[in-house]
């Protein structure tokens, strides 16, 4: 099976989440996954950020990307849960709503594009689990992450709603836990693994988002996790970049490293931490790296 995909990075991967892209590229090299970036892609329209203001324009934004991917003739892969959901939902709405479909078709035509609804939107995690396979993920492990306790944080739109996302169980997801175990680490169970981190509120309702994120961090910490892994740049921003603000706001010490699942895989593949962008994570990963070296 040729592992070649149209790749939609999404806006965060070019800014706050460059390390997600870096680590994904490194492990893709190891696993023989070829990601071909969409030419001149635009914002997916980000859940309901554009939709609530102008629904039709938001679906057009998704459709422009889908149309570019359709020309490439490959599945469309993204690393961001929000892009994954938004682009999949556009696919669904376009197939269900004829009026919307007509209007979007017209708009695409006016800029020389068309979309026949044939693109399958997928998350990179789905590719690892279902195309690459856990055995191949595990075969490439050079330094098993023995003794490392990892809390997988799934959040929201990677797994919900199942009719749009579909590759993992919406209530009891396991894809990342399976990867954690395939890397030789221990998967930690804790109650907040599928609770929303409030990412879409972080710009406008900081206090609400921080309350939501705090609970996830504290519960993962209480469960004995050495780190959290996430599949989404939005969750990562809340859990990692804002962890310091949460500590000062609530007067607690958390100090829990938050890695992209691709960074964790990279560590088990003995890739250089710098090449995985681990120096870009806000919460220091030094203690974590030391712990790995000592085992």
């Amino acid at each position: 099976m040729e592992l070649k995909y149209a790749f939609f990075p999404g806006c965060s991967l070019h800014a706050s989440a460059e390390e997600y892209r870096m680590s994904c590229d490194r492990i893709s090299e190891v696993l023989g996954i070829d990601l071909v970036e969409l030419d001149d892609w635009n914002c997916c329209s980000s859940i309901d950020a554009v939709y609530a203001y102008n629904p039709e324009f938001s679906i057009f934004l998704s459709a422009r990307n889908l149309s570019i991917a359709e020309k490439m003739g490959m599945d469309l892969v993204t690393l961001c849960s929000a892009c994954f959901f938004t682009l999949s939902r556009a696919n669904r709405l376009l197939s269900e709503d004829k009026r919307l479909r007509n209007n979007v078709d017209k708009a695409l035509k006016s800029i020389g594009l068309k979309y026949d609804g044939k693109v399958k939107v997928r998350h990179y995690l789905d590719v690892l689990i279902n195309d690459v396979g856990l055995s191949r993920v595990s075969e490439n492990v050079k330094s098993p992450l023995k003794g490392l306790k990892v809390a997988s944080y799934y959040g929201c739109l990677l797994i919900r709603p199942p009719e749009i996302t579909g590759f993992d169980d919406p209530e009891h997801p396991r894809s990342m836990d399976d990867i954690v175990r395939a890397l030789g680490a221990d998967s930690v169970d804790y109650i907040d693994r599928i609770r929303c981190c409030g990412a879409s509120l972080m710009v406008t309702k900081e206090n609400v988002a921080m309350e939501m994120t705090k609970n996830i961090l504290l519960n993962a910490k209480d469960a004995g996790a050495d780190c959290i892994i996430t599949p989404c740049p939005m969750c990562h921003f809340n859990l990692d970049a804002r962890q310091h603000d949460i500590e000062s706001r609530y007067g607690v010490e958390i100090n829990l490293p938050v890695l992209y699942f691709t960074q964790l895989i990279g560590l088990a593949y003995s890739l250089e931490p710098e090449k995985l962008g681990l120096n870009r994570n806000c919460v220091s990963v030094e203690d974590l790296l030391k712990k790995l070296k000592s085992t």
Binding site: H14, E18, D40, S46, V50, P55, L201, T204, K205, N279
Partner: protein
């Protein structure tokens, strides 16, 4: 959380409200709600809402348009789909909340201080300008100019992000930006 203690008098009821909503995407199944409360029980943001999602739907049934469109709840929903995934009546609650936000923004119900209403508009305008989001500009547009705590926290955050190379100095503008702007203009007229 408020309880539904207000009086539902004929004067406050707008019977066309539920019909209007049922026509919007997300509102299709709103009349099927059996008030089981699984949405409210699943909501991770309900602590910050004035009415639970279940109460909002009941209020729609009762025609309490003004109360619904001026509620805090519709702006707090984070679209995480915990509710809709479990709803036994197939109500797409996050999309319903989006429909209510649209109505609220179009009517005069939205309070001036509601920063989330500005968020949707500013976010869309930035996409129209560049084709991709540029977070520093979005944050600068939305940050409270009077809340010193927020300004202080965000300045420190920006420095922290800067040191890690997480802030780009310039926004990226896509090649097809003219196309995007034109479509935006025409979809506004029709919408």
């Amino acid at each position: 959380m408020k309880s539904l203690e207000f009086k539902v008098t004929p004067e406050v009821r707008d019977d066309s409200f539920v019909k209007e909503i049922a026509k919007m995407r997300g509102g299709e199944n709103v009349l099927d709600c059996i008030q089981c409360g699984v949405c409210s029980g699943s909501c991770h943001a309900r602590f910050a809402m004035d009415y639970t999602p279940m109460q909002i739907i009941k209020m729609i049934h009762l025609g309490l348009k003004e109360k619904v469109l001026s509620s805090r709840t519709i702006w707090i929903c984070a679209s995480c789909y915990a509710c809709a995934t479990r709803c036994p009546r197939n109500i797409d609650i996050p999309l319903l909340m989006s429909a209510l936000k649209q109505m609220s923004m179009k009517s005069a119900s939205v309070s001036e201080g509601e920063v989330k209403a500005r968020f949707h508009k500013d976010f869309t305008e930035i996409i129209r300008k560049y084709g991709r989001i540029y977070e520093p500009e979005l944050k600068m547009r939305l940050i409270s100019k009077t809340d010193l705590g927020e300004i202080y926290r965000n300045t420190l955050l920006a420095l922290r992000l800067w040191r890690r190379g997480k802030i780009k100095v310039h926004p990226v503008r896509i090649k097809g930006i003219e196309d995007l702007s034109r479509i935006f203009e025409s979809s506004l007229k029709e919408g």
